[in-house]
C-alpha cells in the first residue's frame, strides 16, 4: 500500500479520491493501454504527482516485456503422428467429456480436490448441530438415571427438575407407577417448600410445562420464562390462572388423599385426572 507516499511534497492532496489506493486497480490496465480515454487521463494526472505509482507502472511494463518474450513451448516431433486418429476416437466416445470419464471416481476426486470446500461445509454443519447436541448431552447427563420412586424418597427436586428438561427422562418418569401415598407426601412438601425456594418454583413451573405438553399445547420458551417470572412476582396461583393452566396442585393433593394409600399411580394419571377446572375427582 502506498497511500502515504502519494504526495511528493510539492503538491497538496486536494481530495480523498486522489490516493494511490483508488488507482491501484487501474495501474496495470493503464500500463497495458486498456483504459478508456477519460479514466486514462485521470490516472495520468495522478501519476504526475505520485512516484510510487510510477514505479509500479514501470514494474508492470517490465513484466509485460518479459511475458511477450516468453519462448514457445517445444512439442515433441511424434506428438502429432496419430493426432487425427485420436480425434476420431474421442468422437466415438461422444458422451464422455474429459471430466466425466471416470464417473463416480471423478466426482470423489473432484471433492478431494475441493477439500477446503468440503471441510468448510462440514464445519458449518458441526457448528450448527453443536448447540443442540450439547444441550441434549447436558440434559441427558443431568437427567436422573434413578427411578421416580427413588427421587421422591430422596426428595431430590433438583434431579426431578432436570428430568423435566429431558424428553426421554420426562416420559419415563411420567409413566412410572409410584405408590399414591409417596406421591402425596412428596407433592405436599414441594408445594409448601416452593414459596421459599426458587429452584423448587422452577421445578414446579417445569411441571406446568409438562402438563401443558400433555394437554397438547406446548409453551414456547419465552412463554415459559414469562410464567416463571410471574410465579416469582405474584406467586404460583395467579400465575397458574393467567397462563390458563387448569391443573391445581391443591386439587391434586386433595385427590391424592382420596386414593387408597397402597394403590399405585403414575404422575401422568394424576395430572390428567386433576387438570380440569372443575376437578373431576
Amino acid at each position: 500500500m502506498c497511500a502515504g507516499k502519494c504526495n511528493n511534497g510539492s503538491q497538496p492532496r486536494d481530495n480523498k479520491m486522489n490516493t494511490c489506493h483508488n488507482f491501484e486497480a487501474l495501474l496495470s490496465l493503464f500500463s497495458h493501454n486498456e483504459l478508456d480515454p477519460e479514466t486514462r487521463e485521470v490516472v495520468a494526472s495522478h501519476l504526475v504527482i505520485c512516484a510510487a505509482c510510477r514505479q509500479k507502472i514501470e514494474g508492470y511494463r517490465e513484466i509485460k516485456n518479459y511475458l511477450s518474450k516468453l519462448p514457445m513451448p517445444e512439442l515433441p516431433e511424434n506428438l502429432f503422428a496419430d493426432f487425427h486418429q485420436g480425434v476420431l476416437e474421442k468422437i466415438s466416445r461422444r458422451d464422455e467429456t474429459p471430466q466425466q470419464r471416470l464417473g463416480l471416481i471423478a466426482i470423489l476426486y473432484a471433492l478431494y480436490r475441493r477439500q477446503r470446500f468440503v471441510i468448510a461445509v462440514a464445519t458449518l454443519v458441526v457448528l450448527m448441530a453443536l448447540p443442540t447436541w450439547l444441550a441434549h448431552e447436558r440434559n441427558s447427563r443431568l437427567a436422573p438415571r434413578s427411578s421416580l420412586t427413588q427421587l421422591l424418597e430422596k426428595r431430590d427436586w433438583t434431579e426431578l427438575y432436570y428430568a423435566m428438561l429431558d424428553g426421554d427422562a420426562r416420559t419415563r418418569l411420567l409413566n412410572e407407577p409410584v405408590p399414591a401415598n409417596l406421591l402425596h407426601t412428596a407433592l405436599n412438601e414441594l408445594w409448601h417448600a416452593q414459596r421459599e425456594n426458587l429452584r423448587l418454583r422452577t421445578g414446579l413451573q417445569q411441571i406446568l410445562f409438562t402438563i401443558k405438553t400433555l394437554e397438547g399445547s406446548s409453551f414456547s420458551l419465552s412463554r415459559s420464562v414469562q410464567i416463571l417470572g410471574k410465579i416469582n412476582a405474584t406467586g404460583f396461583e395467579p400465575a397458574r390462572r393467567s397462563a390458563r393452566i387448569f391443573w391445581n396442585p391443591e386439587n391434586a393433593l386433595l385427590a391424592l388423599t382420596r386414593v387408597e394409600a397402597n394403590r399405585t399411580m403414575t404422575m401422568r394419571e394424576l395430572f390428567l385426572q386433576t387438570n380440569t377446572e372443575g376437578n373431576k375427582l
Binding site: 519462448p71 474421442k90 466415438s92
Partner: protein, 185 residues
C-alpha cells in the same frame, strides 16, 4: 482402435462442415491448438488430449456453426474452457513442457546474460503457474498470446470487465512475486 471414418460414426447427417473440411481444419489448426493448450496446462500429452477433445466437440456440435470460418474461434473457446477445467481438477504442478532454448537466448550477447534470462523466464513461468486457473488463462491469452480483451472475454465465456479484473489480479500477483525474486536474486 479399429480405423473408421466420420460418416460411419455419425451416420448420414446433413453436415454444415463436411468430412474433408473437418479433416482440413484438424490439419490446419492442430499445432496452434496444442501449443496454446501446452501453454495453459504445461504438459504436452495433456495438451494433445485436450486439443483432440476440442476438435471432437467441434465435430459433434458442427450443426450450430454458421460456416467453417467460425471453427477456429469455436475451437479456441472450447479449448480454453477445457484447459481451465483441467487446471481446476489437477491443480498446480511444475510445467513439463520444454521450451525452445534458442528462443530463450537468441537476441542476447553473452552466455551470462543468457543464463540470467533463462532463470528469469523459468521464475516467471513458475509465478504464472501458481495463479488461479481463470487468472492464469486470462493472463496467458492476453499478455502472452496477445489476444484482445474482447477476444479473451469471448474465449473464456465471460464479460470484458471480468477479464480486466482477472488481468489486474494476475499481473499484480506476478509483479509482486517477481519483485520479491529480484530482491532475493
Amino acid at each position: 482402435m479399429e480405423k473408421r471414418n466420420l460418416t460411419e460414426i455419425n451416420g448420414e447427417a446433413k453436415l454444415k462442415i463436411s468430412e474433408p473440411a473437418f479433416a482440413e481444419i484438424v490439419e490446419r489448426h492442430q499445432y496452434s491448438l496444442v501449443r496454446l493448450a501446452a501453454r495453459l496446462v504445461g504438459n504436452a500429452e495433456d495438451a494433445k488430449d485436450l486439443a483432440q477433445w476440442a476438435f471432437a466437440r467441434l465435430w459433434l456440435n458442427r450443426d450450430h456453426l454458421d460456416d467453417a470460418h467460425d471453427a477456429f474461434y469455436y475451437l479456441r473457446k472450447i479449448l480454453a474452457n477445457l484447459c481451465i477445467d483441467h487446471l481446476r481438477q489437477h491443480g498446480r504442478h511444475e510445467p513439463e513442457v520444454a521450451f525452445d532454448e534458442e528462443q530463450f537466448s537468441s537476441e542476447l550477447a553473452s552466455p551470462l546474460q543468457q543464463l540470467e534470462t533463462q532463470e528469469l523466464q523459468t521464475e516467471l513461468l513458475r509465478c504464472i503457474d501458481e495463479l488461479k486457473p481463470k487468472q492464469k488463462a486470462t493472463l496467458i491469452l492476453r499478455d502472452v498470446e496477445g489476444y484482445a480483451v474482447a477476444e479473451t472475454a469471448e474465449m473464456l465465456s465471460c464479460t470484458q470487465n471480468n477479464v480486466l479484473c482477472n488481468l489486474h489480479l494476475a499481473r499484480e500477483n506476478v509483479r509482486r512475486k517477481m519483485q520479491q525474486w529480484f530482491a532475493t536474486a
